[in-house]
């Protein structure tokens, strides 16, 4: 089901989420080895998933002692909780930023796949009809509303009855 790229993404995301500062260093060849694939596969994953648009930046160096460093702009959302994530969201959010956020929340276990899917749908439906910059404002508004509702009653216990 999940593709090789997805598994590599999950692996790197896992490392990021468990890092102290939302910043990791890996060797391309090592990662490729772990997943028994060609090194350029790792490059592909970095290029398609860990983009600045989604809130990551990647630097690397070649030659002996070379490395790839991935830095997350939203370090460890799973440790800080939905409330903290919510506070970091500003008034505007591009679709790429929203997608990156949802993915990392999903990876961090703060959102179920279903919740993430619902939120994606809602974002499309409520924001995509507008042009930038309006659509980005709407996206931030929708997602913050949704996160607030989720975080305020994570398991339905907030029902007063």
């Amino acid at each position: 089901m999940s593709s090789l790229s997805d598994r590599i993404e999950a692996y790197l995301m896992h490392l990021l989420l468990h890092s102290q500062d939302g910043c990791i260093e890996v060797r391309r060849a090592e990662v490729a080895d772990r997943f028994a694939c060609v090194p350029s596969q790792v490059t592909y994953v970095l290029a398609t998933r860990f983009t600045p648009e989604r809130g990551f930046y990647v630097e690397s160096r070649r030659g002996g002692g070379g490395y790839i460093r991935i830095v997350a702009r939203h370090p460890r959302p799973e440790a800080s909780g939905l409330q903290a994530v919510w506070q970091r969201i500003g008034r505007s959010l591009t679709s790429g930023q929203a997608e990156g956020l949802l993915r990392s929340l999903e990876q961090g276990g703060l959102l179920t796949r279903r919740q993430a899917a619902l939120m994606r749908q809602a974002l499309r439906q409520e924001a995509d009809w507008a042009e930038p910059p309006l659509c980005d404002l709407l996206r931030a508004a929708v997602i913050k509303g949704m996160l607030l509702m989720l975080s305020s009653s994570p398991d339905g216990r907030d029902r007063i009855g």
Copy 2:
């Protein structure tokens, strides 16, 4: 005589009902295979039966590891009063309209006091910084996002407690 489309619909619905969270992932080619039909038949069923109006969202991805994900907004078949309200909200909502809406939802028992209060706060925070007409757009977006999350919680949180 149930048509092929009906049988495919029934099959997918069966999977949904037996899923824990009202969210399934299938491969188009596999489903087509099971019913010995062309893949586009599955697309047809999705397009005609699993529509947003009927309470379903469909997400898909192409390429290797591609899939079709179907999400039911209501894992439980019970209709939700919130859903109906949600569907009637347009793209714009004045603060007066929003307040009226929240009040009637609260009185109707569809929202707890706490939820309503939370939503009021979110509305103020996310929309009031802007001038009309933008603030009305933002209000509609926030409130729809929040209602969606409430009305689609798998644990039936949206029912009157």
